[in-house]
Amino acid sequence: MSAGNDGGMRAVAVNMLGVVEHPSLGDTPYRVDADGRPYLPVGDGGLVLGVRLGDPVSAVAGDHAAPGACLVHPEPAARHALVSYGCIGNPAEVRTGRAAGARGTVLGKRGEDGRLITAFRQEDLARLRPGDQVTVRASGQGWRHPGVPPGVVVMNAGPGLLGALPVSWPGHGPLTVGVRMILPSRLAGNGIGRPAAAWDLDLQLAAGDSDAGDGVPHGADVLLLGDLAAVSDLDARHNMGYRRDWLTVGVVVHGSSPLPGHGPGLTPILTGPGSALAAAADINGHIGLTESALGLQ
């Protein structure tokens, strides 16, 4: 059996159309932060310039700002499919507009109405405009990734993605993943109770001088876009929810948010019991998903 097969079942790739999102606001400009202060959300979806993999999640004064272009589809059911089937590492190509022909990569996803986050070179992003069409070659859901022990479920990961990340399995014992930090499940915010194949999980990390509690330090200041992070006692196989001695690892795909219960977003890629999946935190030296690994430099 070769990689990509599962019990004799061949994995399938699908070309799907996404449209670069235009941000959308209601008839009041303000949202309300955790201390009751109004703020105007900037960068919440749509096409964001100058925010890049490797930037601290709290580097810009944005709200859920993602490094690149968010893709959507005008038909809600098609939008959910785009987000559910698109996987990190899948190739994307611009079909219309001044950036036609530019190639990028799926970086992650956001939940609720659904957004597929795609990374492009900055010069290509600068030629894109909302409404431009992008085709995504979606594959990964249902893929059997090589080098993953039984009990660990992989999701939202395109073929080959795990090989570009600090993931190792010696053939016995748990799969070990290098991460920036391991967070307790009480920091799981928006996205908890939602299906991990189509949502991200916002991490309720404090920025600045605040402390997330119990020794979790200054999370939003050291966590970088593209980092891997682990959440303990979290099972993401179906909906995301509390399960003791379970671990979920994901990619940090968007930046901080002033909204209570929100924060930098984690797109889950690996989930399993502690006996099969382990995380090794390296708060200073960790290298996660980078522009060079995605061929964007």
Binding site: A34, G36, L187, G193, D235, H238, G241, P260, G261
Partner: protein
């Protein structure tokens, strides 16, 4: 509760809604914690046989909404109904065989949830109109400026035990204390709408899913640790949120019985008293006057 409020300044407004039907789709099934498919009633309609004081869990149900689940047909009017209606508000049946009967709001869950006495509930069905006398948003406690009160009828507050202590803290009686790890779906949403599902209350399922919350009852007043619900719903060490359990048994993973938010502020602004009688049934459904 022995506490000074701004009750005389509160505005009472008459709102309408209707008992909303349960909703399903053609794929029928949803997914439990272990991947088990289920098709179970609980949300929407007029759910019978579960009232304040009854166990919240232990039913073959998902997102159990005790009593009537009420919405308004117009989207904007519905948000007004959901945001302005408070726990303890009186609700009068306005059509159908139970017209004239009065019940009380026990919480929010993207529906306004209304508990009626059993014989009344048996006569109410989907589509019946109800009239809500909404009062409570804007309620403030001048002696406790750090505490934000919401979704709480002034009459409910008056009926609860506790109040301002000599040391300046607000004494609140609670039936259960909830660890921060339990906060599930609802995190990140506004706190005037729906509620916070509590994980760790999956009666009958795995021990590794339990946070010891299987004993919650509908109507219990609870304290959620490290939760700041003043302007939304988020994790915040050193804060506390008081809520009322308004929904019950869930099979959907990451969901569970949920408190509707009533008060939130720094933990040191509160003095909690563990009291098994801290339940809406103790104050709302005896001889309580309509119009709380």
């Amino acid at each position: 509760m022995n506490v000074t409020t701004n009750d005389p300044r509160l505005v009472r407004q008459v709102l309408t809604g209707e008992v909303w039907p349960p909703l399903a789709d053609r794929h029928v099934y949803r997914t439990g914690p272990d991947g088990q498919a289920f098709a179970l009633p609980g949300m929407g309609g007029m759910t019978l046989g579960v009232h304040c004081g009854d166990p919240a869990t232990g039913y073959a149900s998902d997102h159990l909404e005790p009593g009537a689940s009420v919405r308004h047909r117009d989207p904007g009017a519905n948000m007004a109904l959901q945001f302005l209606t408070c726990v303890g508000n009186a609700v009068r049946v306005a059509s159908g065989p139970a017209a004239g009967a009065v019940g009380h709001v026990i919480g929010q869950h993207a529906y306004v949830l209304v508990d009626f006495a059993g014989p009344v509930a048996e006569q109410v069905t989907t589509g019946d109109a109800v009239t809500v006398t909404a009062v409570g948003q804007g309620l403030a406690l001048p002696d406790h400026p750090a505490i934000v009160v919401k979704n709480c009828a002034p009459g409910l507050l008056a009926g609860m035990p506790g109040g301002t202590r000599p040391d300046g803290r607000l004494e609140v009686h609670v039936a259960a204390r909830i660890p921060a790890e339990a906060a599930g779906a609802g995190a990140g949403m506004v706190s005037e709408y729906a509620n916070t599902d509590l994980m760790g209350a999956y009666a009958g399922l795995g021990e590794d899913l339990s946070l010891g919350l299987e004993g919650l009852r509908v109507g219990d007043i609870v304290a959620v640790a490290d939760a700041d619900h003043r302007f939304g719903r988020g994790y915040r060490p050193g804060f506390l949120t008081i809520g009322v359990i308004s929904t019950g048994q869930c099979m959907l993973f990451g969901h569970g019985p949920g408190p509707s938010s009533l008060m939130s502020g720094p933990a040191d602004a509160f003095a909690l008293v563990d009291d098994p009688d801290a339940n809406l049934a103790s104050w709302l459904h005896g001889d309580a006057e309509p119009g709380l």
